[in-house]
């Protein structure tokens, strides 16, 4: 991994950036025979400022919303050249470029059945442009365009269910993952890469700057999102739920108090109740609750 790195140090991500961790794990799991099409966003900006590049694999950045379409073109060219069997194609971008402006291109790519893995790095806002809310910003989050001030408790809309939208296309593999569970992420990427057809993985990646937590808190924050049920880790295969990470659910307040973006909720039990309802509904929907262990006889 370190001798010929596919994701080189010397990039300009913030210290402790969850997306940098995840992006590195993704390309290391996919391997050197991979071509990446990347959307505009933090990942693109901090890895490729001319004349530097952090990428040890062929990498192309076009625009904000078209990485899925560019990747479709790369894949089609590889098929034409007879090389597709040996080379993986990954399209990747943030939550904004995936679930908002790029949703059309992804839907087209999934519907056409290209052999491409799409990875969404979900830090739950348009971070590169300064923490504006996206369709995947969770309920009640404080962002610059959904400010929690005066009459508002922040983003008033629920998180867009992009993994479910992708699963509804009936594609071979959809998964959610987290930078707080690096081995699980690696396993899921390897599983996706070895599957033929379109795949979607959405990785929850804490952003110390946008979420307002310390650089060294990435792991506990990411883990807590999963452990409260707010960010369920699951897998769909051909539109059917095929796996999920079970949890012993913690109260959502433990997650909210770790981050400045939820600070405004801490003395607002009414709003916390609403967020707990979201977590509870995820736990129910995906059957996340660990069964109680039978005591040893």
């Amino acid at each position: 991994m370190e001798n010929s790195p596919l994701f080189k140090p010397g990039h300009t991500a913030c210290a402790g950036c969850g997306q940098a961790v995840a992006a590195r794990l993704v390309i290391e799991a996919a391997g050197a025979n991979t071509i990446i099409a990347n959307s505009t966003g933090c990942l693109e900006v901090f890895t490729t400022k001319y004349p530097e590049t952090a990428w040890g694999v062929p990498w192309i950045h076009s625009l904000f919303e078209n990485s899925a379409a560019v990747a479709s073109g790369v894949e089609a060219a590889l098929i034409y050249l007879g090389k597709k069997d040996k080379i993986n194609v990954i399209a990747q971008g943030g939550d904004g470029s995936t679930g908002d402006i790029g949703l059309q291109a992804i839907s087209g790519m999934l519907e056409r059945g290209h052999d491409i893995l799409y990875v969404c790095y979900d830090n739950e806002a348009y971070m590169n442009t300064g923490v504006q809310r996206s369709g995947l910003t969770p309920f009640d989050t404080n962002t610059t365009t959904s400010p929690a001030s005066g009459l508002s408790s922040g983003n008033l809309r629920p998180k867009k269910p992009v993994p479910e939208i992708c699963a509804a296309h009936g594609i071979p593999y959809v998964a959610t993952a987290s930078a707080g569970f690096p081995q699980d992420l690696t396993r899921k990427v390897k599983k996706a890469i070895s599957t033929k057809g379109p795949k979607y993985i959405q990785v929850h990646v804490p952003c110390p700057l946008g979420w307002r937590h310390e650089s060294n808190q990435m792991l506990p924050v990411a883990k807590m999102a999963v452990e409260t049920g707010l960010y369920p880790l699951f897998e769909y295969e051909f539109g059917v739920l095929s796996g999920r990470k079970q949890i012993a659910p913690k109260p959502v307040e433990e997650y909210l108090r770790m981050q400045g973006r939820f600070k405004h909720l801490l003395n607002n039990p009414g709003e916390i109740r609403k967020i707990q309802d979201i977590a509870d509904s995820n736990i129910k929907k995906y059957n996340l609750k660990l069964e109680a262990q039978a005591p040893n006889a």
């Binding site: 370190e2 140090p9 940098a20 590195r24 650089s215």
Partner: protein, 90 residues
């Protein structure tokens, strides 16, 4: 005539992001390490290298001092210590 358009990874040395550290740097004790490689996996920079037990190390040219390696080590074999600033060494 093309101008600045493409970059090959072999021609890119990266920014010396080690200069970002001001407060803390990771210190590997090399005592209890079980070579689980979690520090290597979790580093956002990818500047941790090593294979054998008690033989993992950080490239301080790039380390930003985020502390994720110290946080993830199951054996608490990595601690964050005060950054050695150039002026203090002299």
């Amino acid at each position: 005539m093309f101008g600045p358009l493409t970059v090959k990874p072999k021609n890119s040395k990266g920014d010396k992001t080690g200069s970002w550290r001001t407060l803390l740097r990771p210190h590997y004790l090399h005592k209890n390490c079980i070579a689980c490689k979690m520090c290597l996996m979790i580093c956002p920079e990818g500047c941790v290298s090593g294979k054998e037990k008690n033989a993992f190390s950080v490239d301080y040219t790039f380390c930003k001092g985020c502390g994720l390696c110290a946080d993830i080590c199951p054996k608490k074999d990595i601690t964050m210590v005060a950054e050695v600033l150039e002026e203090e060494v002299r």
